[in-house]
């Protein structure tokens, strides 16, 4: 029906002077945008199918292809933008809830970009990380200041469950099913090589990856998919997932067509059956229930592993975090409203939750006011885009950060935000064997290692510049931050001063 027609948002531009008809674009596009017409010896493209993932543009050996935003436009309107209008058309046509992938792309403030860092001048020296040790090792887990001594008065180290990270960054929860086997393998191998951790998400742990158990955080979410004794025993830590920044308050849904083969076995869900994670854990309707699950998991693993509780950043986050800190959890992971997802209802993704910077600042402040900050570590996510974001998060009070989207970008993701179709041209968010194979983990893991090695260098440079040679002296060191263009209220919540103060 003509009324349902929507002009494509992006157009494939092919330079006829550069296209040599090698047909690489045609072979590589899972959306079948490109076609070769032998009778005319020409390549043509169907822009309607293009998701702007850049696979063709990056593989084109003669740089003949570019994707541009279509100049085709609605009559300008400051209220009714293209997005609002086309979404109405889509819903009028389908009667369904709109779905989206990856993090909230809307124009909300990014507070990381409104904070600037300090450096030493004259009164104390900066430290050159190439000449002096510069330490980024982090421990996650609660701390105690009680001490014990033996009969000779020597200190007895008290053993607390903990994770040791070579740098304050980990790979956040992305399930096998939402991402491919090869993506998982890349993350697992990179975590091992880097001395950090990756997170299974709620997809279970493929048996091939048990060998990376000491660098694995396994997730226990509301669907309990893939959870069994060996799963828990194999891991270095267990994460109870309460919520996710991209879709606070709702569960998950992996459609039956993706529950095939290994994914079905790993999730312990029959082939072809939908894997539906309920919105709440049906055994957690209140904070005291959470405490029971925390201790059930600790009992099940003989108190050998830290338990994380992951929550989405919502309005009352400080009080919620305070409750979790008293629940016996060792680590609280907070996912901001820009956190990524393989699929979420658009309205929820784009309208629910609060920025991670504000959530982190208020949680850290609140836990300190209550004198319980030492009981837990804080890990933040959604969205950490660079080493500078990591650095600012630590200065605000985080112990470490989770990265998801940044890791996927390193693996080739071009943020086309159509993960929900399952036709990821980069072999990441797909289970189609011919597409999965496009992500060679030998290359993928190396790119992840490269990325975080680079970030760690940058973190060390930033630390050295401000005369700090160990990351723990940066944690919560908010004097190292200054706001630019923020209101007094925002500065108060962040607990920082304005630039120039």
């Amino acid at each position: 029906m003509a009324i349902e027609f929507m002009y494509p948002e992006y157009e494939v531009l092919r330079d006829p002077d550069r296209c040599i008809r090698c047909r690489v674009c045609e072979r590589q596009c899972a959306n079948e945008v490109h076609t070769y017409l032998p009778e005319k010896d020409r390549m043509i493209s169907d822009d309607l199918k293009c998701v702007n993932c850049h696979r063709c543009a990056t593989l084109c050996p003669t740089r003949a292809i570019k994707i541009v935003k279509s100049p085709h436009t609605f009559k300008e309107n400051a209220n009714w933008g293209q997005k609002e209008i086309t979404e109405i058309y889509k819903q009028a046509s389908s009667g369904g809830v709109l779905l989206s992938s990856m993090g909230n792309p809307e124009k909300y403030p990014v507070y990381f970009d409104k904070m600037l860092l300090n450096a030493s001048q004259v009164t104390n020296p900066s430290i050159d990380p190439l000449r002096e040790p510069m330490e980024t090792r982090v421990f996650l887990g609660g701390k105690t200041h009680e001490i014990k001594r033996d009969e000779n008065g020597r200190l007895i180290p008290i053993k607390r469950v903990k994770l040791e990270l070579s740098m304050p960054v980990m790979f956040s929860a992305m399930s096998y099913g939402s991402i491919s086997y090869n993506a998982h393998e890349s993350l697992a191998r990179a975590a091992r090589e880097l001395g950090i951790f990756y997170n299974t998400g709620e997809g279970g742990l493929h048996e091939d990856f048990y060998q990376y158990g000491s660098n694995t955080i396994v997730q226990v979410a509301s669907g309990r998919f893939g959870v069994h004794k060996k799963y828990l025993d194999t891991a270095a830590a267990i994460e109870i997932k309460i919520g996710q920044g991209a879709k606070p308050g709702i569960g998950g849904h992996l459609p039956g067509e993706k529950i095939v083969g290994d994914v079905s076995r790993t999730r312990m869900v029959p082939e072809g059956a939908d894997a539906i994670s309920p919105a709440p854990h049906h055994d957690i309707y209140s904070i005291e229930d959470l405490r029971q699950l925390v201790y059930s998991l600790k009992e099940a693993t003989n108190y050998t592993k830290p338990v994380f509780v992951k929550i989405a950043a919502v309005h009352n986050i400080a009080a919620i975090a305070s409750g979790i800190a008293r629940s016996g959890a060792d680590v609280i992971a907070i996912d901001g409203f820009r956190g990524g997802t393989g699929a979420a209802p658009t309205r929820i993704r784009d309208n629910v939750g609060i920025p991670i910077e504000l959530a982190l600042a208020s949680v850290d402040t609140r836990l300190r006011e209550e004198g319980i900050r030492d009981r837990v570590s804080l890990v933040v996510a959604g969205s950490i885009r660079s080493s500078a974001d990591v650095f600012k998060a630590v200065a605000l009070g985080a112990d470490a950060c989770y990265i998801g989207t940044a890791a996927l970008l390193a693996l080739g993701c071009h943020l086309c935000r159509t993960c929900q179709t399952g036709r990821c041209n980069w072999g990441i968010a797909t289970q189609r064997p011919d597409l999965v194979k496009r992500l060679n983990p030998d290359l993928g893991y190396q790119r992840l290692v490269n990325l975080l090695t680079a970030w760690n260098h940058e973190i060390k440079e930033l630390m050295g510049g401000m005369g700090i040679n160990s990351i723990e002296s940066l944690k919560g060191n908010r004097l190292m931050l200054r706001g630019v263009g923020l209101t007094q209220k925002e500065l108060d919540i962040l607990g920082i001063k304005h630039a120039g103060e």
Partner: protein, 368 residues
């Protein structure tokens, strides 16, 4: 005072000179020598703060807390004394004796009280005696405007002012005091006229700290220590370092050596080379007390009852030497400050970064 911003309203980094003299045998000596020592390093201060701490100086009142208090106004004095009378048994009170020195101006009222907590108030509070004193000091310093307790230990006292340290020493007639240990500080704050309370040493109970440096971990340390009931009202490095020492030593129960392993922790690569038990202990200390690690340049002298400790930051970004002659131990920013009072030393050396040098009174030291 009204039109300038003072410590507590703004964070003031500063460079400095420090010196300390300690008699292991407990022999008491006059404050004259510490003035001469710090005077040599005149150029390391800029006249905006100087001060001294003396240990063993009040033998006749050694069982009482000696409160040294600055008052900006008579009203502050009245309010403070009213508070003290309600909570403490005041055994003696007097003006601290001073001499007019032309370089020292704008002095506040400076009073000294020897006190003990009232037994009824103490038992009501359910606190230890020391904790009761600490809480009272914090209360006066934050709640009574214009009153500031800058010394609160037993058989020890702090004397400080705005000025060059040698002028401050003469102003307080330090040569008339005798003790087994003195420390001194000359201040070089970088952005304010200085305030008498902001001069060093900074003291809480028997702990006094003189410090040279500007720590980069300040706000991490401050926000951590404030969780344990301390209030960093002055926003100075020395204040937070003092609280960290008080917390780790008095409240947690770490030894001074262990505290050095926390605040100036060895690097991980060094810890990795230690034998297993030692390595485990250091890993444990660095993990559990991560927020008490101090980074950035510092050299500090920590005075406490019966001892003195010198410590440099982990990279030794500030100068400090230690020397000895017979039972006397000398610690200073510069060797010259030691040579001027004892040219003929048994030895002198420069401790490594993070290496704590701790001296205490000999077992058979004379009564102090």
């Amino acid at each position: 005072m009204n039109d300038t911003v003072i410590e507590g309203q703004v964070r003031i980094p500063s460079g400095c000179a420090i010196s300390g003299i300690f008699s292991r045998s407990g022999k008491r000596f006059s404050g004259e020598s510490i003035i001469r020592s710090i005077e040599v390093m005149h150029d390391r201060s800029n006249g905006l703060g100087g001060g001294f701490a003396g240990y063993g100086i009040y033998p006749e009142y050694k069982d009482y807390y000696a409160f040294h208090i600055f008052y900006d106004t008579l009203k502050a004095k009245r309010d403070c004394e009213e508070f003290l009378e309600r909570h403490f048994d005041i055994i003696n009170l007097s003006k601290i004796p001073t001499t007019k020195v032309k370089e020292i101006t704008n002095e506040p009222l400076i009073w000294r009280y020897f006190v003990l907590p009232l037994p009824t108030k103490l038992s009501e509070s359910q606190l230890t005696e020391e904790e009761f004193v600490v809480k009272s000091v914090f209360r006066i310093n934050t709640d009574i405007e214009g009153a500031y307790i800058f010394s609160s230990g037993k058989n020890m006292g702090v004397f400080k002012a705005v000025g060059f340290p040698e002028d401050v020493g003469r102003f307080y007639r330090l040569d008339e005091y005798e003790g087994y240990c003195f420390t001194a500080h000359g201040r070089y704050p970088t952005n304010t006229p200085g305030w008498w309370g902001g001069a060093h040493p900074f003291a809480l109970l028997d702990y006094s700290i003189v410090h040279n440096g500007e720590i980069s971990s300040y706000d991490a340390n401050r926000r951590a220590i404030e969780m344990y009931g301390y209030k960093c009202t002055l926003q100075t490095d020395t204040e937070v370092i003092t609280y960290i020492f008080d917390y780790l030593h008095r409240k947690v129960g770490l030894t001074l050596g262990e505290i050095a392993s926390v605040v100036a922790a060895p690097f991980w690569q060094t810890i990795g080379q230690m034998d297993a038990p030692e390595r485990e202990r250091h890993e444990y200390l660095r993990n559990m007390f991560a927020s008490q690690l101090i980074t950035g340049p510092f050299s500090i002298l920590v005075g406490f009852s019966g001892g003195l400790m010198a410590l440099n930051d982990r990279l030794k970004l500030r100068s400090m030497v230690v020397g000895q002659k017979d039972d006397m131990v000398y610690m200073a920013s510069e060797e010259s400050a030691i040579r001027i009072i004892e040219p003929d030393l048994d030895w002198i050396r420069s401790p490594r970064g993070g290496e704590a040098v701790i001296v205490t009174l000999d077992k058979n030291a004379s009564e102090v």
